[in-house]
């Protein structure tokens, strides 16, 4: 995520600090079926998607509110034929524009067009360094080979490339080869993200959960590679939190710097927030973004530290991790306001660790592919 350092402020008139970055999930349509997809289990249909005009109006509202960076994502955002117009709309409002894509629908012409429309940066996902395993994970034949070609087109178009690799038990032992592949593809930046277990990934946890030994080895590989590639390729490594003692500073704080927008216009404090059943989120078809950011009850719910239970409320790390992840608290403890079970001080921590161990020692993968 994008970082800025202004101190937080809450006043009686609502939340005052402006957001820094937004995720625009333009569509849920995607030719890939990754078992850890971050989209909800119930996907929006094409007919529900916001129009070009609706999206561009949102970009204008977002920039006015203070958003600096936009991530165009999905589903597969290149499935939208109006993507060039959306890129132009984002750039006309001064947003630093990043395209998050699986790449398989791209052509050299499309990549050049996006660049000409003002795209600043492209992030390409890979599922593994080995084609057979990568294509099995995504349930898409020929996908990996296509991605290698796409990376070259991106570099030829003069766009900076981030490679994103989601890692789990079925590919984590290949981490060194994945890192070297990203460098060979000309990536300026590599994002290595351990699966976060919500939605589809929660359903597939037994197939995906790495062992503690795998994670320890991977952490060492990532640390060494960060040194090896220093000044050539930036490596951002997101540590898997099931094996941690302290929660991650999830989203840099709920409703703190970031929001996500679903294909049909719901505004979420986190792209996984819809997994918290019982919470309701406002739609851009009913409210202005400015109002939602400053006043919507879903955004206010876990802002700052006032909402925290004990032992969080009196914890010395309260302001550092801002309570960790609400979606994880809901998924494991059944209460979105509970202490993040990743934290060693959570009453659910031992259960979480035991669950991770059980999942990690289960047999061969039997993916429930996203569809």
């Amino acid at each position: 995520m994008t970082h800025l350092e202004t101190p937080a402020e809450r006043t009686t008139s609502g939340w005052q600090r402006p957001p820094v970055a937004m995720l625009a999930e333009l569509t849920h349509r995607c030719p890939l079926q990754c078992p850890y997809c971050s989209n909800p289990i119930t996907l929006s249909s094409r007919s529900d998607e916001m129009s070009t005009e609706e999206w561009v109006d949102v970009f204008r509202q977002a920039a006015a509110l203070g958003v600096l960076q936009i991530h165009l994502s999905g589903g597969e955002p290149t499935a939208r034929t109006d993507l060039p117009d959306l890129i132009v709309g984002a750039r006309e409002n001064g947003l630093y524009t990043n395209l998050i894509t699986a790449g398989v629908l791209l052509t050299p012409d499309k990549v050049r067009t996006y660049k000409e429309c003002g795209l600043d940066h492209l992030q390409l996902s890979i599922q593994d360094n080995e084609a057979a395993n990568a294509d099995h994970i995504a349930n898409y034949k020929g996908g990996h080979a296509k991605k290698l070609a796409v990376a070259a087109w991106v570099r030829e178009a003069g766009l900076p490339l981030t490679v994103n690799a989601v890692v789990h038990r079925q590919n984590l032992d290949h981490l060194e080869a994945i890192i070297n592949l990203a460098a060979d593809l000309g990536a300026h930046r590599l994002e290595i993200a351990h699966v976060q277990y919500y939605g589809w990934a929660l359903r597939n946890r037994a197939a995906l959960m790495p062992t503690a030994d795998q994670v320890a080895r991977a952490n060492a590989v990532a640390a060494t590679a960060s040194d090896t590639y220093r000044g050539r390729m930036v490596i951002d490594y997101v540590v898997p939190d099931y094996y941690a003692q302290r929660p991650k500073r999830c989203m840099d704080g709920w409703g703190n710097q970031f929001f996500a927008i679903t294909p049909r216009g719901l505004v979420l404090p986190c792209h996984a927030a819809e997994t918290i059943t019982g919470m309701t989120f406002s739609s851009l078809r009913d409210h202005k973004l400015d109002w939602i950011w400053h006043h919507d009850s879903a955004f206010q719910r876990f802002r700052g530290t006032d909402w925290m239970p004990e032992p969080c409320q009196s914890c010395e790390f309260r302001d550092r991790d801002l309570g960790g992840c609400r979606c994880q608290a809901f998924a494991i403890a059944g209460d979105a306001a509970a202490t993040d079970p990743v934290c060693a001080s959570s009453p659910h921590h031992d259960m979480l660790v035991a669950m991770a161990g059980d999942d990690a020692s289960s047999g061969a993968p039997n993916y429930h592919h996203r569809r």
Partner: protein, 100 residues
Amino acid sequence: MTVADAITEQSRPKLADFVRVQFDKARERWILQAPERVLVLDETGKEILDRANGAVTVGEIAAQLAKEYDAPADVIQHDVLAVLRLLAEKNFLEIVDDPS
């Protein structure tokens, strides 16, 4: 050797094409935009990047700033190198080869 290690007073640095300096209207300050990063520029940072166009050397940038701010050239050059190395470390800089 990395770009950060290679910067000297003879280097001619410029920002990478994908990095953008822009004014952040909502917060009234200059920022540098890069993939997944927003860096807030202080006055010195902005002055340095205004001059780092690939044609001017680090030494020349430092000399201009030393004159403008009426400050010791060696102190300024130290600061300029520190800022540029920080940016190079993040892959945000290109060094244009000496034309000679």
